[in-house]
Symmetry: C2
Subunit: 354 residues, 2 copies
DNA sequence: TTGTAAGCGTTATCAT
DNA sequence: ATGATAACGCTTACAA
């Protein structure tokens, strides 16, 4: 008498690791069908009290861990979402990842992480790989991507979200601050303090539409008052503290100096301030220095820095909720625009007289 | 005439997303068997030039992306490795993740990320979930885990590695610096400068065996000279810059002050230095302040900080290589101990006279 | 070199 | 409420 189950283990002998306990074993030991075991796991309330208890006890006893790939194959869902960040060491992305992770784990989902190194090609490749790994949805940074990326995602029916960007035109696909508006307002704040001569220490805008939008905000606010940044007062490069120092020094090669210097990110800002102190410049008496993004050190330096605070972990969290909503076919009611709040500290003030 | 292929799509109509192109479609369009398509992907050189070209072109044309779960089910490998970090925002872990990621992607592997929030229970649960997700191997931080964790991993034949720890006794399972030795040597360095009265600003050692090992290193070095830390000169807490400031201030409540203060991590050190400056203490003239771990700001502050540099991204990279070697049944020849180098900057010097 | 078909460990349909 | 069994989309003996 050969039951259908005996079919297993007839031929195959893959070089892969020895198989361990499976749902089938649980079913056999518990004396129920595989369907019942599956139900106990996935919809316990459709199974009688008694069987549920029996199966659960066998599961624990045998130490069975369901095989995700098999489940994924059957359900065509992995409960995994993928994210591609330009870099992982930048403070705001790290915080976003933490928030994302937190929110996902609430619904038993996991994060599959990839890194584009600010290259659209690499971003495309990473997304492809994530899709191959079966992610249910994808989180991206920015809204400028490889030209084939959206097609790739749509062909595969993968919901996605662009983070750290927001503008009304793209509502529903973006979660983040409105970069342009944030720096528009920061610049207005400085103009209202009386500043007219501005310097900018920026990170390169190549493959970084967030940084580009921020530059736009600055320029628009200035243009409204008939102002502009002199070319020699616009310097840009990488984004470390070191680079901030170097760029700041370059900015001040010739007089007259700008009375206000806007920096493109937290690290550049810290660098600029430290260099200004090394050069003996009085901040804000002689010059105001402001930044974008808020990392802890900015508030702790001897001259605490005025900056724009974005709650990056909130960006991650909201992006997660948006993706989950999309997966469940729900509409989302919460706002997708994240506040970008100007935190005025001691590094900004009116320009020097005369 | 009904070919066996016609069996598909008889019953099932899952609520899951519409299926898209599959290997079967590629095979059909290219006029070859499914086996051939599979071979073109996995061992191209066993297929004739002609078919290979034809299949590849159909793959591109149809935009087929192989289904990872199906492949994982068949091969029992996911090419994914899991990592559980206590937190993701701490600088050294972020760098390790970056290194890990980098090294994994070289061999087409991906990182599945989880976070334990310094809780052994949560770590255990996260590992369980990673196993369920089918990770081929697991990276952990530290070597003190939930009591059932190693059994869980071993029962499931999952290779793993403990990172950010190293001691000769556990060679082969650990990749990282020898925390005890690193702080033993840092303390020796201070003793040799002439310091006798030490203060420690530590992060809590609860669920953090790395921090505990570092404390041991300090105490051993002191004990060798018949020295010890006065209880009131040992303060500990969380690990932010803020906390560093607070703890430092508490440390100096009564005189006589320690002449050397050792901090448990980079953020605490920065906080301690900033607070010392706010208090008008001369560093290093009046007091030396040293730290553990090296983040960029430490080198850039007005008084650059002496600290222990650990190449965290190298920890991530080596851990990845070790895991891959284990998966491939290879022995690894490179060292698993990562250097912990004392970087002497300006914050340390001889104690004040008298 | 290429094709056939069994099997990977689940879920879900259908019947009971 | 439970059981039998056909998918899920791929890999890989084994046969040709």
């Amino acid at each position: 008498m050969s039951s259908p189950r005996d079919k297993r283990r007839t031929k195959t002998a893959s070089p892969a690791p020895a198989r361990s306990v499976g749902l089938r074993d649980v079913a056999r030991v518990a004396g129920v069908s595989t369907a019942t075991v599956s139900r106990v796991i996935n919809s316990p309330d459709t199974v009688s009290e008694e069987l549920r208890a029996r199966v659960n006890s066998v599961v624990r006893h045998l130490g069975w861990v369901p095989h995700g790939a098999a489940r994924a194959l059957a359900t065509r869902r992995t409960q995994t979402i993928g994210a591609v960040f330009p870099t992982l060491t930048h403070g705001d992305f790290a915080r976003a990842i933490q928030g994302l992770q937190n929110e996902l784990s609430k619904s038993g989902r996991t994060l599959l992480l990839a890194c584009s190194e600010y290259s659209p090609e690499q971003e495309y490749e990473q997304v492809r790989m994530l899709i191959e790994r079966g992610v249910d949805a994808v989180l991206l940074v920015g809204e400028a991507h490889h030209r084939d990326l959206s097609e790739l995602l749509e062909k595969n029916h993968i919901p996605y979200v662009n983070t750290f960007v927001y503008n009304a035109a793209s509502h529903g696909t973006c979660v983040g601050p409105d970069n342009r508006k944030a720096l528009y307002e920061l610049t207005r704040y400085l103009i209202e303090l009386g500043h007219r001569r501005f310097g900018v220490v920026a990170q390169t805008t190549e493959n970084n539409d967030r940084a580009a939008a921020r530059m736009r905000g600055i320029r628009e606010a200035l243009a409204e008052k008939g102002l502009a940044i002199e070319p020699r007062h616009f310097v840009h490069g990488f984004w470390t503290i070191q680079e901030g120092r170097n760029l700041f020094r370059r900015l001040l090669q010739d007089k007259p100096w700008p009375t206000a210097v806007i920096c493109g990110n937290a690290y550049l800002t810290v660098g600029a301030l430290l260099e200004s102190q090394a050069m003996g410049i009085a901040v804000p008496g002689q010059m105001s220095i402001v930044g974008y993004d808020d990392i802890e050190i900015m508030a702790e330096l001897p001259i605490p820095l005025t900056t724009v605070r974005v709650l990056s972990d909130e960006v991650g969290r909201r992006a997660a909720r948006l993706l989950i909503a999309k997966l469940e076919g729900r509409e989302i009611d919460e706002s997708l625009e994240c506040a970008a709040e100007i935190i005025v500290r001691q590094s900004s003030g009116p320009p020097p007289k005369g």
